[in-house]
Structures are given as C-alpha cells and as structure tokens.
C-alpha cells in the first residue's frame, strides 16, 4: 500500500518534465520555421490584403479605397487579357505536360536500368529558370536567326512564325518551355506513383488475358489517380504563378500576348507604383486559384480512387 501510494506521485512527477521537455524541444526546432512563416508569409499576406483596399504609391500616404481597386481591375481589359493568357497557358501546359510526363514515366517504369534517362529528364528541373529562358530565347528567336526556325526552313521549307514576337504564338512558345522545364519533376512523381501499384494486381490481370492497353486503362490509371490529382493541382497552381521564365524569355511589355496575371501584379506595383491595385490583382489571382483548386477537389471525389 505504501509502495503504491509512493509510486503514483513519482510516476506522475516523472512524466511531467518529460512532456515539458519535449514541448520545449519542439518549440526550439520549430521556432525558425514559425518565424520565417510569420515574416515571409503571414505578414506579407496580411499586408497585401490590407493594401488591396488602399491607394498607395509605395512612398506616400495610404488612402482608403474600399473596393475601387478590385472594380478597376475587374473592368480593365488589360487584366482580362492577363487572365485569358494565364488560362491559356494552364490549358496548354497542364494536360500536355502531364500527359507527356505520364507516357515517359510508364515507359521508364518498364525499362531496365532507366536511371540514365531519369537523370536526363530531371536535368532541366535543376537548371536555373533564367538560364533555361536564355537558352530557349536562342532556339525560338524569330525569322531565320532562331535555331528552330532556321532548321525548319532549311530542312522542311517551312516558314515558321516569330514564336516570341507574335502575340498569337508567344503563349505556345512559353508553354513549350514550361513543359520542357517541369517534365522531369512530373516524370519522377509519376514514376514514384507507378512503383506503388502492386505487381500482383497487374499479374493477375495479365493472367486473365488483359493486354497492356487494358491494364493501363483499368489498373494503372485508376491506381495512379491520386498521383495524377496531386500533380494536376500543383501544375495548375504553378502555371497560374508563371512569371520568371516569361519575364526573361519575352518582355511582356513588348508583347501583350505574354502578359500573365503575375506580370500584371508586378507591372502595377513596381512599374506603375500602384501597390493597392497590384495587391487587388494578386488577391483576385489568389481567389481564382482557390476556385480552380476547389473545383479540382470536387472532381476528385468522382475521378480519384484511393483504394487499391
């Protein structure tokens, strides 16, 4: 009895410091992340939301603007054009980029010793986006001076458009560069997804007489759908945020076909000194991205299979 009464408080007494110490260690390790999150995410986000309702040139006094900035942006044809260009870019890069990555991943999954190819496809991902843009600038330059157009003219007699100068083609050129640069990452993600598919299911289907196409359609695709869903969400968000490559590849000030929403945000803020308007445009982009992501999540219920 004595033992029991003495043991209880000791147990409680011993457990408490351990929990507290864990908590302090957790706080210690999390502190830098939390600080960075507060400084670089929470504060700028909050500040941007407030600024979206203000008139501010970055230097002078801030004035309350209410919803004027939003109304001005939503009725501005320039902003409409930027939204349309952004949507076009997403429509080109997401299905084609992910489709191509899936095909390559399936091929690599069935190739022995595919490590070399994986590295090859992944190289563009680790290359600086500015270097990528500069390289593609040489390839896609207009008339006979661009590597691509000179080759098309010389070998096939095709007179190709000025990819980066023609407002009608520039988004296609940007989409090609984007797909090329993000291909490796998508291939690696899909490969990882493919390797989680249990081999016995594929073998069973094969024994039942299913051909490769049927296996791909009825087994691979459904079991890979969570990975495809994840990649689609990420790819849509990335294409909505496209800026750096476009800025280096084509100066959107010279070609309105390349103006995306993020460029519009940059131009309004740092070229026109209209930080309120710029923040409003950024918030509209945030809402647009959220809406598209919500639609994707809604579609997930019908299209994505989590059971193996």
């Amino acid at each position: 009895m004595t033992v029991l009464t003495r043991a209880r408080p000791r147990a409680v007494h011993q457990a408490r410091p351990v929990r507290n110490r864990d908590g302090w260690w957790a706080a210690f390790f999390l502190a830098p992340q939390v600080a960075a999150l507060l400084v670089f995410l929470a504060f700028p986000l909050g500040f941007a939301v407030v600024l979206a309702f203000m008139r501010w040139d970055g230097l002078g006094q801030k004035e309350w603007a209410g919803f004027d900035n939003f109304a001005a942006q939503l009725s501005d044809p320039e902003f409409g054009l930027a939204v349309w260009n952004t949507v076009k870019l997403a429509l080109l890069t997401v299905p084609f980029g992910l489709g191509l990555a899936l095909l390559i991943a399936v091929a690599l999954n069935n190739v022995k010793g595919g490590g070399f190819y994986r590295v090859l496809y992944f190289l563009p991902v680790v290359t600086s986006s500015v270097a990528v843009a500069l390289m593609w600038q040489i390839i896609l330059a207009g008339n006979d001076y661009g590597v691509l157009n000179a080759s098309l003219e010389r070998w096939f007699g095709i007179s190709a458009p000025d990819w980066l100068g023609d407002p009608g083609w520039v988004i296609v050129a940007i989409a090609v560069v984007t797909i090329w640069s993000s291909l490796g990452l998508n291939v690696v993600i899909f490969l990882a997804g493919l390797q989680t598919i249990p081999l016995q299911i594929v073998e069973a289907a094969r024994m039942d007489g299913a051909d490769s196409l049927r296996i791909f359609r009825s087994i691979t695709l459904p079991l890979l759908s969570p990975t495809i869903f994840f990649s689609t969400v990420v790819a849509v968000i990335s294409s909505f945020q496209a800026f750096d490559q476009i800025y280096v590849l084509v100066d959107p000030e010279d070609n309105e076909g390349a103006k995306t929403i993020v460029y519009q945000v940059y131009e309004l803020g740092f070229k026109d000194f209209q930080f309120g308007m710029s923040s409003a445009a950024a918030l509209i982009l945030l809402v647009l991205t959220l809406l598209v992501t919500l639609v994707q999540f809604a579609a997930q219920k019908r299209l994505v299979h989590y059971d193996s």
């Binding site: 502190a31 600080a35 970055g58 230097l59 002078g60 000025d162 100066d251 000194f273």
Partner: protein
C-alpha cells in the same frame, strides 16, 4: 520563464537572420573613410566609364569611398530603387530616369538641391544646366535632381542610301540654309521607300514621337492636359507616323530582331534616316564607313529650328542619407564640368553642363556634331505632367505601338489613348 525567454530569443534571432541585411544609406565603415553608396543602371561597358571618375574622386577625397551598386537593365532599376526607398535602404545618391523622376519628386524622398547647388561647396550651379532638360526634376522652382548627362534625339542620315534613292540634297545643308522642312523630310522618305529602302527607323519612345509632333507644330501637353490626340497638328503627326509604319516607310526599331536590328540595317544602307542620340557613333564605329553618315535635327514645318526631345537622367540625393555633405560632394563633382569631362570622354552621351562642349566637338565627328549641342540647348526632356505618373510614358508607347502595327485603327486608337491618359491622371 528562462526557457520561454530563450525560445523568444531564438525566434528573434531567426527573424533577424531571415530579414536580410539591408544597408542603411551613409553608413561609416568604422573609423576610416566613410562610404557613399550610389546606384545607376547600365551594361558592364557603361559602368566601366565611371572607373576613372571614381579613381580621381577617391584620390582627391581620401575620407570618402564610393560604392557603386549597378543594375544591368533599365527596366529593373526603378523597381529596385522603389523597394529600397520604401525600406529605407536606398543608396545615398542615385540616378533617376526621366520617366520616373516626377513620382520620386512628388513623393518627397529626394533632397531639395537649390541651396546646396548655389552654396560655396557646389561645383555646379543651377544655371550651369540647360533649363529645358530639368524636365520633371524641377518642381515649383526647386531642383530635386541634376541632369548628369543627356542624349538629344537627332536624325542620323546615310548619304549613300539617300544617293541610291536619287536624293541629291543634303539634309544638313538644307538645315543650315533654313530649308529643312517636314515636307522635304517626308518627300525624302517616300523616295527612299520607292527605292526599296526604309525611309526612317525610330525607336518607339517619346523622343521620336514627340519630336515628330513638334516638327508638325503640334502640342503634346497643354495646360496640364494631354492634347496629342486632339490638337490637329499633333494628330496629323501621329497620323503620318501611323501611315508610315503601316506602309513600311518607317520601321520600328523595337520590332526588328536583335540579329538584324536597326544599327545593322543602317550600316547596310537599308534605311535613309535613323533617329537616335550620340550613342549611334558607337554602332557606326563597329562596322560602318563613318564618312557616309551625318546628323540633322528633326525638321519643322517652316524650316526654322524647333525644340527637340532630349533624353536625360538625373542624379538625386537620398533624403534619408546620414552623410548629406559627403553625398553632395560626390553629386556636385559628378555632374560638374570637370566630372563630365572625365566621365563622358569615351562615352556616347552629350554633357548636360555648360562649358564641356569639347567632348562633342573635339573629334570632329559627325560633321555636324554641333547639332547635338543645338538640340540640347533648346530641347526638352519628357514633360513634367507625364513623368509625374509612373508608367504613363511606357503605357503611351505601348498603346501607340498597337496603332503603329494596325492592331487598333487610328481614330479608335486615339480615343483609347486619350482615355488611357485621362484615366491615369485621375
């Protein structure tokens, strides 16, 4: 409690570590000489032109070190400067472009310079600079930025191309005789076009466009209002430009590929005129027969000289500098006659200060180099009303490009342009 303080301390350290190391302007480097930070834009070649000045300055002022913080692209320069000004980390002295100066002046981030320039330590008095090129750097009689150098917009002409097109008259000679009229110029362009060449190549910027408007006798701004789309003569000039761009009499340098750009076209005698500044000499030296080229101002309706556009940039003093005296010493010497003689000796600019004319005239090239000085002395920097609105000049140029390229019809384009400017002016 101690632990809580430790965690808070770590948080604070992490926050500080993550918040960058923005340097405040005018910070002394210990007990030694003070460091004056200054910034400008330009390529590596442009930046090299400042080395001699820096060397000379630091020798004469052992207590001051100069630290140049350049930005390669002009388009990136002002966004960076704005961010630095907002975060109070801007350099002590900095360049400001003529299309942005107005906003910085009205924001009150620049030191007023009248008293300092007129003071005993000044090496450059306010009246040493031509009135027209102060542009938006002067407000209510107060100077906020000193023109550091200029580039008057003139028409370079190719004697060989003109001769090939059957043009026997020399534009510079016509100008000297007071017969350099807009009608003659447009007639020469038509002949060049008929000979399978381009008449003129223009960069799509206010210098060319507003010089043409002035040449037609039109007004761009009047009483604080943008009248280029309504003033009949200005409208006629814009219509002539539109027609010229669309029938290829005029070429837009902005639309030519880098590999076959305006300089190449001009060197290959494929165009009669090329609107540009003194910097064109560098292009001609790279592969042209220098004797084939000369300059003439933009023509006027009557043949009498009219004010032409002058590209300018300004050197301004940060209002938050901790070392105003040393920063001003640098500023005034940089823009002084002696400073410009050192800086511009090998460059392609025209001095903004009186008395340094030998830089332009000494080499005897081009034959009518005096034209640069004439245009500078009577010319105008971008209009203060226009530069007071950031991005407005760029927006006007961008919109006019739509008109030049036929994406928007002329009348509709003019209506939209007026609406755009009115909207920006609020």
């Amino acid at each position: 409690m101690n632990r809580a303080l430790a965690v808070l301390g770590i948080l604070a350290v992490a926050t500080t570590a993550c918040s960058g190391s923005g340097k405040a302007p005018g910070v002394s480097s210990g007990s030694g000489p003070v460091t004056i930070r200054w910034s400008t834009w330009g390529s590596a070649e442009d930046i090299k032109l400042y080395e001699k000045f820096t060397e000379d300055f630091e020798q004469r002022h052992p207590d001051i070190k100069l630290k140049l913080e350049p930005v390669a692209k002009y388009e990136d320069y002002h966004p960076k400067l704005l961010a630095q000004l907002t975060s109070k980390t801007a350099p002590d002295v900095f360049f400001v472009g003529d299309d942005n100066i107005g906003k910085f002046v009205s924001a009150g981030v620049l030191t007023p310079l009248n008293d300092k320039l007129a003071g005993p330590s000044s090496k450059s008095k306010p009246e040493d600079f031509f009135e027209g090129i102060y542009g938006g750097a002067k407000k209510d009689g107060q100077i906020y930025g000193v023109p550091n150098d200029t580039n008057p917009e003139v028409l370079w002409f190719d004697k060989k191309a003109l001769k090939d097109a059957g043009i026997t008259e020399d534009p510079a000679a016509l100008n000297e005789a007071g017969r350099w009229t807009m009608a003659t110029y447009l007639d020469m362009n038509a002949k060049l076009k008929a000979a399978g060449k381009a008449g003129s190549i223009f960069w799509n910027w206010y210098g060319s466009t507003y010089s043409m408007i002035n040449g037609f006798g039109g007004k761009v701004w009047d009483g604080g209002k943008f009248v280029a789309t309504t003033d009949p003569k200005a409208r006629a000039a814009l219509q002539a430009l539109t027609k010229g761009y669309q029938d290829k009499t005029f070429l837009s340098a902005d639309l030519l590929p880098d590999s076959n750009g305006p300089s190449t076209q001009f060197l290959k005698h494929k165009a009669g005129f090329y609107a540009g500044g003194r910097w064109v000499i560098d292009s001609l030296k790279k592969g042209g027969e220098l004797g084939d080229y000369d300059i003439v101002p933009f023509p006027s309706q009557t043949g009498r000289p009219m004010p032409g556009a002058v590209a300018a940039s300004y050197l301004a003093l940060n209002k938050d500098t901790k070392l105003p005296e040393q920063a001003f010493t640098f500023l005034t010497e940089f823009v002084s006659k002696e400073g410009q003689l050192i800086r511009l000796k090998d460059g392609g600019a025209v001095p903004s200060v009186k008395g340094a004319e030998q830089i332009v005239l000494a080499g005897g090239y081009p034959a009518h180099a005096q034209t640069f000085l004439d245009v500078r002395d009577t010319g105008f920097a971008n209009y203060p009303e226009e530069v007071a609105v950031p991005g407005l000049t760029a927006d006007i140029n961008e919109h006019l490009m739509k008109v030049w390229t036929g994406k928007v019809g002329f009348d509709e384009g003019m209506t939209q342009l007026q609406k755009l400017v009115d909207g920006k002016l609020g």
